[in-house]
């Protein structure tokens, strides 16, 4: 750049290698000369101070909003669970939380039911049964309190790596089993997709509901649409394990039938559409989103398999474990 351009109004001092010659020193452009050591310290301290203040404000907002957010999420999950199982307010829903603890490379699994903490070794043997203290058996007990109790029980001094690893819900109506909700997650196109898998007591799928996902709007995000998620409804545990994702267009009449679930209760719908379910044995992928479609399908398959295994393990204790 030549010094002749110094006369032009648009000339910018900071880009001029010989800015002493450009005659515009009176307008001290920031960054025109390196700051002194003192300035640097001041700037660094100023920035650190600004960051600290911002962190304090954000921390305060977080503390105020987080409990509300948790409550909303819980309420949303609760409505989702009831809707999936077709249960009204009168029915009871019990949460069963699962914990993993490692010792010398051997896993121990703990199941926290509303009444007991049942521990199993990795070979499936029962190695411990603890009754929950009174205050944890109340519905008001928080997840944190439950987790702390379970981890303290399982985590003897030599086991620092016990942790919560998942949960499922058991629905009961008039003292009878009304189905299960299993929480599962699967790696989607970018991030984890968290979903609920609703099962009848005979392991037929009642519904799938995506709780959290970050798929692309218009593409992978279509997994939350009825025409996709309802394709799992009515499949038995056996058919689920053989499900395949096909890249064919979804037949319009099948789509219409799938979108009716919700208006018609799922169990009635299954009864009406047995022939259709046999006619469409596979999952039709979302156009342009085969990865998301496959991710959900595999997640459902895996969740189903694991859940059946876990339920078999827990079955002998289920009756007394639930109030």
């Amino acid at each position: 750049m030549s010094t002749t351009s110094a006369t032009s109004d648009s000339h910018n001092c900071t880009t001029c290698p010989q800015h002493a010659a450009c005659g515009r020193q009176e307008q001290k452009a920031p960054g025109s000369s390196p700051p002194s050591a003192m300035d640097m310290v001041k700037i660094a301290l100023g920035l650190a101070f600004a960051c600290a203040i911002s962190a304090l404000i954000l921390g305060w907002v977080y503390m105020k909003t987080e409990p509300v957010k948790e409550k909303n999420l819980k309420a949303r999950e609760e409505t989702m669970i009831r809707a999936l199982l077709g249960l009204d307010e009168g029915a009871k829903i019990f949460e069963i939380r699962r914990y993993l603890s490692m010792k010398d490379g051997r896993a121990e699994i703990g199941y926290l039911t509303p009444r007991f903490l049942i521990e199993f070794s990795d070979t499936g043997e029962k190695i411990g049964l603890n009754e929950l203290p009174e205050n944890l058996q109340k519905p008001s007990a928080t997840e944190d309190e439950k987790d702390r109790f379970a981890l303290e029980k399982m985590h003897r001094p030599d086991r620092p790596d016990a942790r919560y690893i998942g949960r499922f819900f058991v629905g009961k109506k008039d003292g009878k089993l009304a189905g299960y909700i299993v929480e599962g997650s699967t790696l989607g196109f970018k991030n984890q997709i968290r979903f609920f898998l609703a099962l009848e007591s005979d392991m037929t799928v009642r519904g799938v509901e995506v709780v959290e996902h970050e798929e692309d709007p218009g593409l992978g995000a279509e997994i939350i649409q009825k025409y996709f998620k309802n394709q799992f409804v009515g499949r038995s545990s056996d058919t689920i394990s053989h499900l395949e994702v096909v890249r064919e267009p979804l037949p319009p009449d099948w789509r219409k039938a799938l979108e009716a679930i919700g208006e018609i209760p799922a169990d009635e719908w299954i009864g009406l559409h047995e022939a259709d379910l046999a006619k469409h044995p596979n999952i039709y992928a979302i156009t342009g989103s085969t990865i998301s479609s496959t991710a959900v399908t595999n997640g459902v398959k895996r969740t189903m398999q694991n859940f059946q295994r876990r339920l078999a393990l827990l079955a002998p204790y289920m009756k007394e474990a639930l109030p």
Partner: protein, 209 residues
């Protein structure tokens, strides 16, 4: 330097220097979100809050800000308000947040907010900066409402989810390309109104004073 009157400041943000239709800033989120009026409205309100809060903060803090680090500090201020608005929306408006949550975080990178802080709030007293923030925020909100309602009406045949036209007149309108077409057409309309009123077409950039 005497500041323009309140009316001038607000009208400038709304029309003469509308962030989207005049300055052509923040087009990417504007196109991404305005597939329906509701989404556009929500992002518009969020941007409005962040713009006002950021302009006021920049104006209040300007005596303490070392000019060498003003940009990092402005970004910090925007990020602070965006995070706060994000958390508040998530807590108190979960249904809305589920729709626009992804874009609320993106407000941090909105050119219009930083540009108003740098060009106006850092040089003007608090009250004019507040008005400028309100004007620009409203301008963005207006752009979101216009684009959102037009695209929803033409693309899905509805407004706020209520069906107005039983068919979908032109599906293209709700696709990303349609967003640019819509914004371009509204821009042309703005220019045409200016020409009709005998004004010279503005070349954009944003007022400095």
């Amino acid at each position: 330097m005497s500041s323009p009157s309140a009316k001038v400041l607000i009208m400038r943000g709304l029309f003469d220097e509308n962030p989207v239709f005049r300055l052509a800033l923040s087009l990417c989120p504007a196109v991404a979100v305005t597939t329906s009026l509701k989404n556009g409205l929500l992002l518009g309100v969020a941007v409005f809050c962040v713009q006002v809060l950021s302009s006021v903060s920049a104006s209040v803090l300007k005596p303490f800000i070392n000019p060498r680090i003003r940009l990092p500090l402005f970004v910090l201020i925007v990020a602070l308000w965006v995070s706060a608005v994000d958390m508040i929306l998530a807590a108190y408006f979960p249904a809305i947040y589920a729709q626009v949550g992804l874009y609320v975080k993106l407000i941090v990178a909105f050119a219009i907010i930083l540009s108003r802080m740098e060009l106006f709030a850092s040089k003007n007293p608090i009250w004019p900066s507040t008005l400028d923030g309100i004007g620009m925020g409203l301008g963005f909100l207006l752009a979101m409402i216009l684009t959102g309602s037009l695209r929803e009406l033409v693309g899905s045949g509805s407004i706020l989810g209520i069906t107005i036209i039983p068919t979908k007149p032109l599906l293209l309108a709700v696709l990303p390309a349609g967003g640019f077409f819509t914004i371009g057409l509204i821009m042309a309309l703005f220019n045409w109104i200016d020409l009709m009123r005998g004004k010279k077409l503005s070349s954009g950039g944003g007022a400095h004073g």
